[in-house]
Symmetry: D2
C-alpha cells in the first residue's frame, strides 16, 4: 500500500455477513440515470435505523450497459433475505418504475433471486409483454410516459458489511476532505458501496451507553472536541477524524476498496494516521488487517 508517509495503525477492520443485490439502472441520459439511482438508494445508511443499506456502486457508460444507455450500478443490502426482497420491490417499484425512461437489470450472478420483475409486471394490467435481451428475461410494462423494462429476477448473494477505516488528520476539515478523496477512490472499485452520506461517517459510535435505553452512543474517546475532557485515544496532533464504512459483494472487493480508499486518503494534505474499527475480533467473521492491504 502506498501510504505517502502516513502512519498505518497495526489493527484490523471486522466485517460481518450481509445479503447484497446489485442492479443496473439505465435511462435516456446519464443525468436522468443519476437522478433515478440516487432516489432509489437514498435513506440507506445503516440497517440500524434505515430500511436498508444502499448506494451507487459505479457509473456504467452506455458502451457497457445491457441496453446501450447510460446507467448506474447500485447495491441494496440487508441482513434479512425477506427484508431485502421487500426493499428491492419497493425501491424499484416506487423509485425506478416511476422515473421517466428508466429500466432495471440484474447485475449480480447468483443461484437464488427475487421475483421483482415477475411481480412488478402486473402493474401493466394485462398489457405487459415479455422480451428477451441477450438471454435476459425482461418484462415490458406500458406506463403513461412510455414503457418500463425490468428484469424478471434480481439476484443476491452473501456479501460483507462493515469494512471500515478511520482517517485522522491535523484539522476537522482536513479529515472531511480526505474522506471525500477516499470515497472518490472507492467509487472506482467495482462491487462496493460506501452507504453513508458522501461515503463517510462523521459519528463513529461505541457499543452501549450510560443511558439504559440506548444500545450505542458516541465514542467519546475518539471525539476530537472532547480531547481535553476525557481520557482520549486520539494522538496529540490529531484534531480531525472521519470513518469510512464499506459494504461489498465479497471480501476481496471490500479489501480492494479499503486499499484504494486508504491510499487516496493518504494523498490529502494533513492526514496523519489511518486506523480501523473492530470488536476485538469476536463479532465478525471477517478480519481485514490494514498492514496486509
Amino acid at each position: 500500500m502506498e501510504n505517502n508517509g502516513v502512519e498505518i495503525e497495526d489493527t484490523f477492520a471486522e466485517g460481518f455477513g450481509i445479503k447484497v443485490s446489485r442492479i443496473i439502472i439505465t435511462a435516456a441520459t446519464k443525468h436522468l440515470a443519476e437522478i433515478t439511482a440516487t432516489e432509489a438508494t437514498g435513506y440507506g445508511c445503516s440497517v440500524i435505523g434505515c430500511p436498508a443499506e444502499a448506494g451507487i456502486d459505479t457509473y456504467v457508460p452506455p458502451t457497457e450497459t445491457p441496453d446501450g444507455r447510460p446507467g448506474y450500478a447500485i447495491m441494496i443490502c440487508h441482513m434479512s433475505k425477506d427484508d431485502l426482497d421487500e426493499e428491492i420491490m419497493n425501491r424499484i417499484g416506487q423509485c425506478v418504475l416511476t422515473a421517466p425512461t428508466a429500466a432495471a437489470f440484474n447485475a449480480i450472478e447468483s443461484d437464488d433471486g427475487f421475483a421483482t420483475g415477475s411481480k412488478l409486471k402486473f402493474f401493466g394490467d394485462g398489457y405487459q409483454t415479455e422480451k428477451d435481451m441477450d438471454g435476459r428475461k425482461m418484462h415490458v410494462i406500458p406506463i403513461m410516459s412510455g414503457e418500463f423494462l425490468v428484469e424478471d429476477t434480481m439476484g443476491f448473494k452473501e456479501g460483507v458489511a462493515g469494512g471500515n477505516f478511520f482517517i485522522m488528520a491535523d484539522s476537522q476539515l482536513s479529515a472531511v476532505v480526505a474522506a471525500e478523496a477516499a470515497a472518490d477512490a472507492i467509487k472506482a472499485v467495482s462491487g462496493v458501496i460506501t452507504p453513508f452520506p458522501g461515503g463517510m461517517v462523521a459519528s463513529g459510535s461505541k457499543v452501549g451507553s450510560k443511558y439504559k435505553f440506548l444500545s450505542a452512543s458516541t465514542n467519546e474517546k475518539e471525539c476530537v472536541t472532547l480531547k481535553d475532557v476525557v481520557d482520549t485515544e486520539l494522538p496529540d496532533d490529531v484534531f480531525g477524524m472521519v470513518e469510512i464504512v464499506i459494504d461489498g459483494v465479497d471480501e476481496a472487493s471490500v479489501r480492494a476498496a479499503m486499499k484504494a480508499g486508504i491510499e487516496a486518503a493518504c494523498t490529502a494534505h494533513g492526514v496523519l494516521k489511518i486506523g480501523a474499527g473492530n470488536y476485538g475480533g469476536d463479532l465478525g467473521p471477517y478480519q481485514i488487517h490494514l498492514k496486509d492491504l
Copy 2:
C-alpha cells in the same frame, strides 16, 4: 396564467391532507449540504410504497440560514403523525447526524412538534450540551468528527398532498424535458416538494386492476404506447405524457407551485396540452382548478 398558447384542460387536481415537517439542513459547504439533504430525502416518492414522501424544497444560501452556512430546506410528509415522528427521527439520526459538518434546524411554525433533538441528544452519552441560537434551543452532540447541532423540537402541520398536473407533448422526450422544466420552476416556490425522481412521475396509475390482488395499475387509456391498442383518452397528436405530483405546506403553496410548474412546462417546445388528475372530487377535500390558476 401564461400558457404560451398551450391548451389548458377544464379540469382540476384533487388534493388531500398530509402531515408535513420542514427542516433546514446546513453544512460547511453547499456541496456537503446537498449530499446530506439528498440522502435524508431519498426513497421518499409515495407513502404507498416508500416509508415517507420526502424531498428538497429549496436551497437556502448562507445569508439566510440560522447558522450562516449553506443549507437546504427539506420536507418530510406522512399521513400518520406517529410514522412521521419515526421517519424524522431515523432520517435525521441516520442520514444527518452521520454527515460531516451537518446541522438540522426546524423550519416550520407549528403548535405541535416532535422531540427529535431532545431524543437524539442522548447519543452524546452525557457529553452533550445545550445552546441558544437566536431563540432556538439547540443540542450540541460531540461526535467523532466534531459536533452535531440539532434543534430540540421539529414542528409539523397539516399540509396538502396530491397537487398534480399532466404534461402532454408531441414526443415522449419532449414531455420529459418539459417536466424537468416544470420541476425546476417548482423548486423556486417555497413550501413545496415534488417527491418523485427528478420531480416527475412517469407512470400515472388508475385505481383497481384486472388482478384481484392489485389495488392500482397502469392507466392504459393514458399510456402513449397503447394508443392503437385501447380506447385511448389521449389526443391524436399527443405522443408523450408525464405527470407532476406536488406536496405542500398548505393549499396556497401547492397552487403557486402548480401555476409556476405549468407555466414553465408550457415554454418547452412540443408541449400541446396540460391536464390534471382527480377522483371525481369525492376523495380529496382540495380541488384546484387549472383554469383558476
Copy 3:
C-alpha cells in the same frame, strides 16, 4: 459583521475600475442552462492571462427570467471596451448560439451597449426575424435544432474589480473548505462574480520578481509551506490560506459580497483570521475596509 470570533485584520481591499456586462442565459431546463452558462464563462479568471474575467453571477429561476425558462445570470468583464465587445460577441456566438434551446438576454441597465444581437442575426442568412418581448428587441435566428433568440443590444457599465479578502486557517484544507463556503455565500449576492476556479485563488501573488522577465510572482511571505524558509507574514498558528477575488457591477455589490463571503468563511471550523490585499492605496480608486463591513 458576524465574525464568529474570528480575527478581522485592520486593513482594506483595493479595487479598480472594470467594464462589466451582465447577460441572462436561459434554456429548456436548468441542467441545459448551467452547461451553457458554464461554457460561456470558462477560461475567464483574470485578464492578465485569460481573454476576459467571467463567471456565473446567480441562478435565475423560470419564474424570474424574461422567457419563463430556467436561466443563469453571467457577467463578462474587461478593462477595454473594445475587447469586452469582442469577447461578448465570441462567447455568445460560439458558446450560446451553438447550445440547444439556449437564449441570451441583456441583464444590466446602461446607456451604452454592444450590438451583439444585431450582428449575430446575420447568421440567419436572411431567414432571421424580429420579435418584441416585453419591450426587449429580440432577434429570432433559425438554427438546425430550432431557433436561437438573442437580444439586440447587450449593455455594459463601469464596475469594480479586485474586491478581495484572505482566509487564514489552521490547515491547508480548512482554508479551502472555508473558501468554498465563502464562494457559496457570494453566489447569493446579485451583481458579483468570483471569476477564479471554484471562486477562490490558491496562488495570491506579489508585484515583481527576482526574474527580470516576470512582472508578478508568488508572494513567498504568505506561502504556508515557506513559513520556516522566509521572513513570513503569516501568524504562527496559520497553516492554510486562500484568497477570494470579486468583480461586481458597482462598489455596493462588491461590499455586500465581501461581507457575505467573510461571514460565511468565519463559520468554517479552523478559520483563524481574515485579511485583505492592497497596494497601499495608491493603485485603485476603491478602498473597502474590512472593519467597515
Copy 4:
C-alpha cells in the same frame, strides 16, 4: 454498429488535422478536480471564434492518476502549434495554478512538446524545486495555499478534428436528449472530446452567406423550423436535429467515438435517422463513412 432500427445515411464525416495536447488535472477531491478542469477547458468550442477547442476527455479515478488523487484528462486543440503553446500556458497558468490543491500532468506520448512547466516554475520566484515522480520531471511551486505541481513538458501530436454526425428525430427535444446520450457515450471513449456546450452543436452551418461579410451562416435546408419555407433536405417526419462534433488524438479514437455516440443516440426514443457532414471530400484528409463503423 447496433442502430436499433434507426436509418443510417450512406455518407461520411470529413475530418482534418489539428494539434492536440492531453493533460491530466488532479486535485484533492473529484469535486475540486472537476471545477478546475471545467474552468480550464471553457470557452473552447471552435477555433473559428474561441481561442482553442478544449474539453474534458474523461474522469480518471485516484487509482489511475500519477499522484493517486482524483483527476480529469482534458484535451486542448489548435491548428497552430504556437497558438496551442500559448493556450496551454495561459489555461494552466491562469485556471489550474490558481485552483486550490490542483496539479497538472502530461497525458500524451509525443516527440515534441511545450515548455509549460519549465516556464511556469519561475512564478515560484526562486523558491521552486524539482521532483521526480515515476520518471516524470515535476516542478514544485510554492503558492499561498500550499504547492502547485506541474510537469516540465506538455506533449502534443497531430490529431483529427471535425469528426461528426447528425441526429434526426421526431421532435426538437428528442434530438437534444439523444445528443446528450451520445455525448455521454463518447465520454467513455478515451482520447476524444466533444468541445461544444454539453457535447452538442445546435446550429450546424453552411459555408458562405448572402451577406458578403459573412463566411458561414445557418444551413437553412437543415433547419427544422424552416421546413415549410425553404427547399428542405430534412425527411418529412423529422422535426428535431442536433449535430455532434468530435476532436480526437487520432483517427481510430474519432471512429470509436462516432460509433459509440451513434449507437447511444439510436437508443433514444424518437430518433429516426443518422447523417453526417462533409464538404464533398475535398477539404479534409479523413473520411469516416457511417456504414463502415
